[in-house]
C-alpha cells in the first residue's frame, strides 16, 4: 500500500484558497469543485485529489499547513480511503470540476 493526499472537505471549504493545486508538481491532480461541500451547507467549494495521479510527495500538506494555515490535507493509505476521486470519474465544467467518488481500490 502507499500514501496519497486526502483533503478534508469540511476544513478546506472554510477557506478554499486553491493554493495547494498551484504547488502540486503533478498536473490535473489537485482539482477544485465548487459543488463539493455545498450539499453540507458550506459557502465555498473544496479542493480534492485525483488519487490515481497523486505520487504521495506531501508537498500539498506543507502548503495547506504552512502557507494556507488550514491543515486540511493529510496523507492517507490508499486502501484506507473508502471513497476518492479518480480521473475517470471527473467531469470538467466551465469554471469548476465535479467528481463522482468511488472506491480507489475497486474503481
Amino acid at each position: 500500500m502507499y500514501l496519497v493526499a486526502n483533503v478534508n472537505v469540511e476544513i478546506c471549504a472554510s477557506k478554499s484558497c486553491k493554493l495547494c493545486t498551484q504547488y502540486c508538481p503533478e498536473a490535473n491532480t489537485i482539482q477544485y469543485s465548487e459543488e463539493m461541500g455545498k450539499e453540507q451547507g458550506f459557502k465555498y467549494g473544496s479542493a480534492y485529489i485525483a488519487v490515481d495521479r497523486c505520487k504521495g510527495c506531501a508537498l500539498c500538506v506543507w502548503v495547506c499547513d504552512s502557507l494556507a494555515k488550514n491543515n486540511a490535507i493529510k496523507m492517507t493509505m490508499i486502501d484506507q480511503l473508502p471513497k476518492a476521486a479518480l480521473t475517470d470519474n471527473i467531469t470538467y465544467g466551465d469554471k469548476s470540476t465535479t467528481a463522482v467518488l468511488a472506491s480507489p481500490m475497486v474503481g
Partner: protein, 297 residues
C-alpha cells in the same frame, strides 16, 4: 500548429481516451488560462515519470500553463530530467542530441518565420543546467549573440540529476555530490551576466515557490522573443534526490535558496519594455509621465 491539431478527426471522437477528450474540450487551447484557474481546467501536461515532489516538475507544469498561445508553441529539450515531463504535454516537443537544443531552436524558429510570416509561433527551450551551461554552452551563447528570437529556460537543479549526481557549472562551490565526492572546486557560473553581455532582451531568475511570478516571467519572455530578441529565464528547480531534500520540505528549501542566491531579478531591455507596453498593454512599462515641476511661486 494551430487550433486544428487539437481537434478530433471526423469519426474518431468516440474512440479517444477520456484524457484526450477532456483536453480538446476543456484544455487551455484557444483561450487564456491562468495559474489562479488551476484545478478547474484540463492541463496540457499529462502523467510522466519524473520523481515525486520534484520542483522541476512543478516549474514545468506552471510554465506550460503560462504559455501565451499553447496551440502555437513548440518546446525544445535535451537529455536530462525535464524532457521526461515536457515531452508528455499536448504541445509539440523536439528532442535532439544532448546540448544541441539552442542550435535546433535557432533553425526551428527561423523556419517557422519563413513558413508562417508574422503569425506568432513560439519556440521555448527548456533544458537542465548541465545541458545549458556545460554541454550546450557554445550553442546557447551563439544563439544569444545572434539574437535568435526564442526563449531559453534553464531548469537549474545545480547538478546532473538524470545521471546520478555529477557536478555542473551551475553547482555551488564546495557542494559535495555523489559523483563529486571531494566537493566542487569552482564558483557557480554567472549565466545571467553572460546572457546580458550576449544581448538578451529579457533575463530573469525565478523560483517555483511563487507560481504567479513564474507565470508572469514566462509570459513576458515568450512575448518578447516573438519580435525583439533572445530571452533567458533561469529557474531554481531543486533535485530532491541528489540533494536529499525530503519532498514535503521542497518549498522550504526553495525559500531558503531564494533568499540565499536566487532572489527574483528581472532585466528588460528598453526596446522590450516599449514592445510589451505598446503591443501587449503592459502598463508597468509605459513611459513614466514627466514629473510635475514644483511650483515655486
Amino acid at each position: 500548429m494551430s487550433l486544428d491539431y487539437v481537434k478530433f478527426s471526423n469519426g474518431f471522437e468516440k474512440f479517444m481516451p477520456k484524457e484526450y477528450r477532456d483536453m480538446v474540450e476543456h484544455g487551455p487551447f484557444g483561450k487564456k488560462v491562468t495559474v489562479s484557474q488551476m484545478g478547474s481546467f484540463k492541463e496540457a501536461l499529462e502523467e510522466h515519470p519524473m520523481c515525486a515532489g520534484c520542483a522541476m516538475t512543478l516549474f514545468i507544469r506552471l510554465a506550460i500553463i503560462a504559455f501565451p498561445n499553447p496551440e502555437d508553441t513548440i518546446t525544445v529539450g535535451t537529455a536530462g530530467c525535464g524532457r521526461l515531463a515536457i515531452s508528455q504535454a499536448a504541445i509539440p516537443f523536439v528532442y535532439g542530441n544532448y546540448g544541441d537544443q539552442n542550435g535546433v531552436a535557432s533553425g526551428l524558429s527561423r523556419g517557422l518565420r519563413l513558413r508562417f510570416g508574422d503569425k506568432p509561433k513560439d519556440v521555448v527551450v527548456m533544458a537542465g543546467d548541465g545541458g545549458t551551461a556545460d554541454i550546450g554552452f557554445q550553442q546557447v551563447l551563439h544563439s544569444w549573440f545572434r539574437k535568435e528570437r526564442f526563449t531559453t529556460i534553464m531548469l537549474d537543479n545545480e547538478v546532473y540529476g538524470n545521471t546520478g549526481g555529477q557536478e555542473s557549472g551551475m553547482t555551488n562551490r564546495g557542494a559535495v555530490l555523489k559523483m563529486a565526492p571531494l566537493g566542487k572546486k569552482f564558483e557557480k557560473m554567472d549565466m545571467l551576466q553572460m546572457a546580458k553581455v550576449a544581448g538578451c532582451a529579457y533575463v530573469a531568475t525565478v523560483v517555483p515557490n511563487n507560481p504567479r511570478r513564474v507565470e508572469s516571467v514566462i509570459k513576458k519572455a515568450v512575448l518578447i522573443a516573438r519580435e525583439v530578441g533572445s530571452t533567458y529565464i533561469q529557474a531554481y528547480t531543486s533535485c530532491n534526490i541528489e540533494y536529499a531534500i525530503p519532498t514535503d520540505k521542497v518549498m522550504e528549501d526553495a525559500k531558503t535558496v531564494e533568499n540565499d542566491r536566487y532572489q527574483f531579478t528581472e532585466y528588460v531591455s528598453e526596446e522590450a519594455k516599449q514592445y510589451l507596453a505598446e503591443r501587449y498593454g503592459y502598463k508597468e512599462f509605459l513611459p513614466k509621465p514627466a514629473a510635475a515641476i514644483p511650483n515655486k511661486a
